[in-house]
């Protein structure tokens, strides 16, 4: 075989120190054909993270279990795989971290923290240790602790040596407990603190891609999870505004009574003969829409089981690698991930999806793409990335959403008066476009892009016997974009 062709010569980045390689080494993995497994012969043996191309496969072995050539190639692949599997986790003493696993707490206490991982992993907990320590003062010392999945991931990638808490004092130099192998770590840590194998596999998968992954529901109060999204609270109104809105609705009702007769099933077009000049397509379609639509309308499906026992619960908060994350007070996540076992869990039903979407924030409409040359785009991205990394992302962090989401509160009374005196713009769609987006008036986004991206997004990771598939479920908003 031509080995020079198989060695990928393209190096996207210069080789780096092993612990710095987590963010920018991720190449876009094209998995067009998922059936094509990785070709282990193309795995580089040097410690340089370059993702080789997938290999080609044959249709089937020839008669008698394959020709000699097929056998040779297969053996070569197998041996490459075994060689890779035999790699030991050998880490320099200068860069390895140490931790002690406390099975009773389901936490790993990091005694030596080295490397870049601890900028977004672990949390500090005040624990009164029974161990005699020199600075055992009145103040309870804080210490860095890892959740089971964090510790397991660090052990698995060879960044941390884990000891197990041992009863009694070991009088052995350099040992903080009983040593743990990777095997033991898997056997003992999974199954604690709500961590299932599926959840760990999703965690590790995303971590390997460089994402920052945190729990959505804090296991203890010491864990700094992102605050839950604000429930859609109606903006606070002053008494005067309330009064106005009351009058508004009354007047509106009156107006309906006068101008639009009661809904008649046989004549759904609600146009009084007096105002026939007002008829156009949009008003006709609007009056034909006599069923309440949209996600604001209540569900008429009764939940079969109570929602608390549903496996569809958001488990992880995901942050993009570029996020400047402060781990003690993480911002609202870029993505919310639900992990389910695809072998035991059916596709989510309407109630489950609605419950999921109810806790999620509204996403802003996708920014209309500006047509720029590639070089300009790159320049722009670099410029903005250096100042505010979130600006370029298509999914703006919800901190910005919250500012753009609710209607502007501080409208003057005059404006409000104005808006209900001229009801044509706002009153006709009060439940529908409740979000008075100022930008929408300026430049209406492409409806197809908005429909496709939806308003809310939840990622469901379905794990079927270690095969992880990520599905994005989006809540659409068809009622806001009538095609007329």
């Amino acid at each position: 075989m031509d080995d020079s062709l198989e060695q990928p010569s393209y190096q996207p980045h210069p080789p780096k120190v092993s612990f710095e390689d987590n963010d920018n080494e991720n190449e876009e993995l094209s998995s067009g054909d998922e059936d094509e497994g990785p070709d282990w012969t193309k795995l580089p043996t040097v410690s340089r993270p370059v993702i080789p191309k997938r290999g080609d496969k044959d249709f089937e072995p020839n008669a008698d279990g394959g020709s000699n050539f097929q056998k040779h190639v297969l053996d070569r692949s197998r041996n490459a795989m075994l060689e890779a599997l035999r790699t030991e986790r050998n880490t320099s003493s200068k860069s390895i971290s140490y931790g002690i696993w406390y099975p009773s707490l389901a936490r790993t206490h990091v005694t030596t923290a080295r490397g870049i991982h601890f900028t977004n992993m672990g949390h500090s907990v005040a624990r009164s240790t029974s161990l005699p320590s020199e600075n055992d003062t009145a103040k309870v010392p804080k210490r860095l602790e890892l959740l089971p999945e964090e510790a397991l991931y660090l052990v698995e990638r060879g960044s941390m040596f884990c000891w197990k808490e041992s009863e009694g004092h070991l009088g052995l130099p350099g040992m903080e407990g009983e040593p743990m192998s990777v095997q033991q770590t898997f056997a003992e840590m999974i199954g604690t603190e709500d961590l299932t194998l599926e959840k760990y596999q999703v965690y590790a998968y995303l971590k390997r891609l460089g994402y920052v992954v945190m729990r959505t529901k804090p296991p203890t109060s010491a864990y700094p999870a992102a605050a839950p999204f604000d429930k859609k609270v109606p903006p606070k109104q002053s008494i005067l505004a309330k009064l106005f809105s009351r009058i508004h609705s009354v007047l509106l009702g009156l107006g309906r009574m006068i101008f639009q007769p009661k809904f008649n099933w046989w004549r759904p077009l609600k146009h009084s003969p007096l105002f026939r000049f007002n008829m156009n397509y949009s008003s006709v379609f609007r009056s034909l829409r006599f069923l309440p639509g949209g996600h604001g309308a209540p569900l008429h499906v009764k939940p079969l089981q109570d929602s608390s026992s549903s496996p569809y619960e958001i488990f992880y908060n995901i942050y993009k690698p570029s996020t400047n994350l402060k781990k003690s007070s993480p911002p609202a996540p870029d993505f919310s991930v639900v992990v389910i076992n695809a072998r035991t869990t059916p596709v989510p039903n309407l109630v489950e999806l609605t419950n999921l979407f109810d806790v999620l924030p509204d996403l802003p409409p996708p920014v209309p793409r500006q047509r720029l040359a590639f070089a300009e785009q790159k320049k722009l991205a670099q410029a903005t990335a250096s100042s505010t990394p979130a600006m370029t992302s298509t999914v703006t962090p919800p901190s910005e959403i919250s500012t753009s989401g609710p209607p502007p509160k501080n409208l003057s009374i005059f404006n409000k008066l104005f808006s209900w005196i001229l009801p044509s713009s706002s009153a006709q769609s009060s439940p529908v476009t409740r979000q008075g987006r100022p930008s929408q008036q300026q430049r209406r986004p492409n409806p197809f892009a908005v429909l496709k991206s939806g308003k809310k997004l939840v990622v469901i990771a379905a794990v079927d016997a270690s095969n992880i598939s990520f599905f994005a479920f989006r809540q659409g908003l068809f009622e806001e974009f009538p095609m007329v």
Binding site: P49, K57, G158, F161, V182, A204, L209
Partner: protein, 341 residues
């Protein structure tokens, strides 16, 4: 053990999942027993990607059932097999660790002396570099302090800048002090510097053992080995198969396996399994199989259409496998687009 074969593969089971930790067993399963499993661990030397994954190999529950029924493997209650080590075992382990570290240090240092010039020079260079860095840092600190003082004297004009710098300082100190505190607050049990290698300046390699059996004397499988599924079920460490559908899956898997096929997970192709004519590493799958609990189970036309469509688009035939629970037989039907136009 009373096995006729020389070697039974040990499947470490915890939380109802079966792991294989031995590389030779992975090979044996794949090459001899046509069992692939799924590699799910992080490969330590290429840890930031998901294309190539390493140990552990996690087996599908059907594979576990098959291996036990064929007497090819045993189930180990893995958490139980990790026994409490005795002090003497720990001491032995630690002595081995320390002597290995010492050997490493001696080798690097000895090597340095032997080759004389370059390494010694390198060492002194590094020492000098450290000194220089220290000096540089001190200088910078002095400069910063001076700048701060200047800013204070100049008052309001650079107030914002000064405040920003202050905030920076605070952030820096808070982030750096944390791990140091962590380190100092933990009591390191009476280290004598002559014995403990962790105080050594020379870096050495720390090895995190992958599987327990070769590294830990106290890992013992003798009391937590189960040779059949029913035994393991009785002991409460394994539950599969429980339902009719799970039994059907095991039956179909078993039947296809006996026909010499390799099976992989088929969820990405709308099936239960992908059926390969040879090792999936080298050959494409021919079928995407779905398991049906009964040979007379009703199918909706939409299912047939979607199976046929997906199978054709991915150059596979869809295989409908009907399990007859009474006769323990499987009947197969495949769907393909006829292609008349």
């Amino acid at each position: 053990m009373t096995d006729t074969n020389a070697h039974k593969i040990e499947l470490g089971v915890s939380n109802n999942k079966a792991y294989v930790w031995d590389v030779d067993d992975v090979y044996l399963l794949r090459a001899k027993h046509h069992i692939c499993g799924v590699l799910t661990g992080t490969l330590p030397h290429v840890s930031q990607q998901n294309v190539f994954l390493g140990l552990p190999l996690i087996l599908l529950p059907e594979e576990v059932v098959l291996l036990l029924e064929k007497n090819l493997a045993v189930i180990i209650d893995d958490p139980k097999a990790h026994k409490q080590p005795t002090p003497s075992q720990l001491k032995k382990w630690n002595n081995a660790r320390i002597s290995s570290v010492k050997a490493q240090i001696a080798q690097t240092q000895g090597g340095g002396e032997k080759v004389d010039d370059p390494k010694v020079a390198l060492k002194s260079m590094s020492e000098e570099a450290i000194r220089k860095r220290k000096e540089r840092e001190e200088k910078r600190a002095i400069a910063a302090a001076a700048a701060k003082a200047k800013a204070i004297t100049e008052g309001l004009v650079i107030d914002g800048v000064e405040a920003g710098a202050g905030a920076n300082d605070i952030q820096l100190s808070s982030s750096t002090s944390n791990p140091i505190d962590e380190r100092s607050s933990t009591p390191t049990p009476s280290l004598s510097p002559s014995i403990d290698p962790s105080t050594s300046k020379t870096p050495y390699t720390v090895n995190i053992p992958t599987d327990s059996a070769p590294s830990f004397e106290w890992y013992s499988t003798s009391e937590s080995t189960y040779t059949s599924i029913s035994e393991a079920k009785k002991a409460g460490i394994w539950t599969y198969p429980e339902t009719l559908h799970e039994r059907a899956k095991c039956g179909v898997f078993n039947d296809l396996w006996e026909k010499g096929y390799y099976m992989g997970g088929g969820i990405k192709f709308g099936g239960d399994y992908l059926v390969y004519p040879g090792d999936p590493m080298r050959y494409h799958s021919h079928f995407a199989a779905t398991v049906h609990d009964s040979p007379i189970e009703k199918l909706r036309p939409m299912e047939i259409v979607s199976h046929g469509r997906l199978g054709t688009a991915t150059k596979k035939a869809h295989l409908l496998c009907g399990w007859d629970d009474e006769k323990s037989e499987v009947s197969y039907y495949s769907i393909e687009w006829a292609g008349f136009g």
